[in-house]
């Protein structure tokens, strides 16, 4: 089995290396890939959409359909992860660990014992990691707001610099994941619950498709943002720029929520009680 695999891989690699002789030379400006449609994008993006970052304008305007259905794929992956892993029937763990906050004593409550309420006195802690991590929690509490502001900046400034909905959404999701790792999964879920994340997943896709539908109601093609000029009160070129921003916000919401959903379900194996 192993020999067959090695031979197969070696043969395929040799074949591909042989074929690589026919590729255009490295960095050729007149290669087939960069001589048909992409010069149009490069030369017309500023006069069509007034967005200097060509990647953003192609992503959300010229090829908006593509990005919309990529967002739908991400949404579907998040839903699939929930369906695969989520355990809705709450299985009570045999033992739980609690920390008595005023004294710092860790209590282990065996099966059948009475669990204390989550009050100011007692705090439930993960059974895999008992020690205090004050440095980690304080640092995270300080940097998470800045990470989130940076994520919003990345979404909003995607027109002029690298960035956009996908990157900003992932960074925002990563800040929530960081919170869930530094504190615990339960306090993260308390702040950003399961219903909210599932709602945001759907809302992101809905914003994207809704902007397209509004364009259609005004008599233009689906996702032709110049129709938004009347609503926004700007000229048709700026309307395309603003339409791109709206769509990016939808993408950002969907991606952020899906990243959080994936982490919640993978880290707790669907039980949503104890995470990393």
């Amino acid at each position: 089995m192993k020999a067959i695999g090695v031979i197969l891989v070696g043969f395929l690699g040799g074949l591909l290396i042989y074929c690589s002789m026919d590729f255009p030379p490295w960095g050729d400006p007149h290669s087939p890939a960069s001589s048909h449609v992409s010069p149009y994008y490069i030369e017309h993006t500023l006069e069509d959409t007034s967005v200097p970052n060509i990647v953003t304008s192609v992503l959300a305007d010229y090829r908006g359909y593509d990005t919309m259905f990529e967002t739908v794929v991400i949404f579907t992956a998040g839903i699939a992860c929930i369906f695969l892993l989520r355990v809705f029937k709450a299985v009570e763990p045999e033992t739980r660990l609690y920390r008595h906050l005023p004294t710092g004593i860790t209590l282990r409550i065996a099966q059948g014992g009475k669990f204390p309420d989550d009050s100011d006195q007692f705090k439930r802690i993960d059974s895999d990691w008992v020690p205090h991590d004050i440095i980690l929690q304080t640092t995270c509490r300080m940097i998470i707001p800045f990470i989130q502001i940076f994520a919003l900046y990345v979404i909003a400034h995607g027109h002029h610099s690298p960035g956009g909905g996908f990157q900003g959404g992932v960074i925002f999701g990563a800040s929530i994941i960081l919170f869930a790792i530094a504190f615990d999964l339960r306090s993260a879920i308390k702040r950003m619950g399961e219903r909210l994340t599932a709602f945001l997943c759907a809302l992101g896709v809905l914003i994207y498709a809704g902007v397209g539908l509004v364009c259609m109601l005004y008599g233009n093609n689906f996702l032709d943002y110049s129709a938004l000029a009347d609503i926004l009160g700007v000229d048709r070129i700026s309307a395309r720029s603003h339409g791109i921003l709206m769509v990016e916000i939808g993408v950002g919401l969907a991606v952020m929520a899906v990243m959080v959903v994936l982490y919640y379900n993978l880290a707790s194996a669907g039980k949503h009680d104890e995470g990393l």
Binding site: T56, P162, G163, V170, A269
Partner: protein, 81 residues
């Protein structure tokens, strides 16, 4: 494109990719894969694909490593090959 830098990073990428596949501990494999993703991000930045590099830095080196570590934490670290 600076070809010396490109060549060095290509070498590192291959070493990290092979390392992630051969190491006997799945947690180490996850961390090596994160390093691989980050080197890939540098490669894209060298090529001038700044948006792709940004995406890979946040997605590949950030979130996917966390997802791998979470999955290894919920399954086992042991592997036979």
């Amino acid at each position: 494109m600076i070809w010396q830098l490109d060549l060095i990073i290509l070498m590192i990428v291959i070493v990290l990719g092979i390392g992630a596949l051969t190491v006997k501990d799945l947690l180490s494999a996850a961390v090596l894969f994160g390093a691989y993703s980050f080197m890939m991000c540098l490669l894209w930045a060298i090529m001038g694909a700044v948006d792709v590099a940004f995406t890979e830095a946040s997605v590949g080196a950030g979130v996917s490593t966390v997802l791998f570590v979470a999955a290894v934490f919920r399954t086992s670290r042991r592997t036979k090959d």
